[in-house]
């Protein structure tokens, strides 16, 4: 069975991504807590239902929610701080997720041309999602 080779010990790409997965996972949990508590602080407790609150605090962008009722909370979020927070969340989320897909590809694909193809596809997906997210966040 030709599964993936053992990564060499020391300072390698696999090691960097291993560290990054842990750090970005912790950062995502932290930013989710910050977003949720700030949403509640700005008055979401009496004005939003739970699902809207979760959607809104992860990605406070009016194009993200169409039918949910978001009343007077919008002005408090329309500043550069939350745009930067959104960009960091999207960067960490997309990179963490695409790296997870890459690990699954490395686990199940032998060293065939399919793996090379899928690696390229994942890289393009990563670039594409991040560019689209930057565009959506910054052009509101």
């Amino acid at each position: 069975m030709a599964s993936r080779t053992t990564p060499r010990l020391g300072f390698s790409f696999e090691y960097l991504m291993w560290i990054f997965t842990r750090i970005s996972g912790l950062a995502l949990i932290l930013m989710a807590i910050v977003g949720l508590s700030m949403a509640l602080f700005m008055g979401a407790r009496t004005q939003m239902d739970m699902g809207t609150l979760l959607r809104w605090s992860f990605f406070p962008n009016s194009y993200h929610v169409v039918n949910s009722d978001i009343p007077d909370v919008v002005p408090g979020w329309a500043n550069a701080y939350w745009q930067v927070m959104q960009l960091i969340i999207v960067f960490f989320g997309v990179t963490h997720g695409v790296n997870g897909l890459r690990i699954i590809v490395e686990d199940y694909m032998g060293s065939t041309w399919v793996r090379i193809f899928l690696r390229g596809l994942l890289f393009l997906l990563w670039i594409f999602l991040f560019l689209v997210a930057i565009y959506v966040v910054t052009t509101v």
């Binding site: 239902d49 979760l54 993200h64 997870g100 694909m109 997210a133």
Partner: protein, 128 residues
Amino acid sequence: MVLKRNVGLSGLKYRGGGPMLAWSLHRISGITLISLLSLHVLSSFFQHQLGNDLATNINIIYESIYVQVFIVFVVIFHGLNGLRIIILDTFPKLIEYQREVIWLQWLAFIPIYGLTVFVMVTRAFGGN
């Protein structure tokens, strides 16, 4: 090539228990999360650019209470299980107790998820 391996139903007989369930759920929920994230980014982009029925319909689908209950399960499980992995990796001596840690993890998961779903469902169907 690995893909030609045919495991079939005999894979179900592998008695990995709690750690195996956590591992496979972590992987499945991870794939689900990156798919949902891509869907959200794309639907926001379509809403921004086109604002047509396609964009609105994608938004309606993931704003419905049924999808939300599923997403909350996936997010909370992936987060808690990731925390467990980080803690066990940082303190490798704890790996000896990993089955007990997984029981603890479910013990933390049930109230967090249960309360969230309780609030969501009562708000959604209670007319308030």
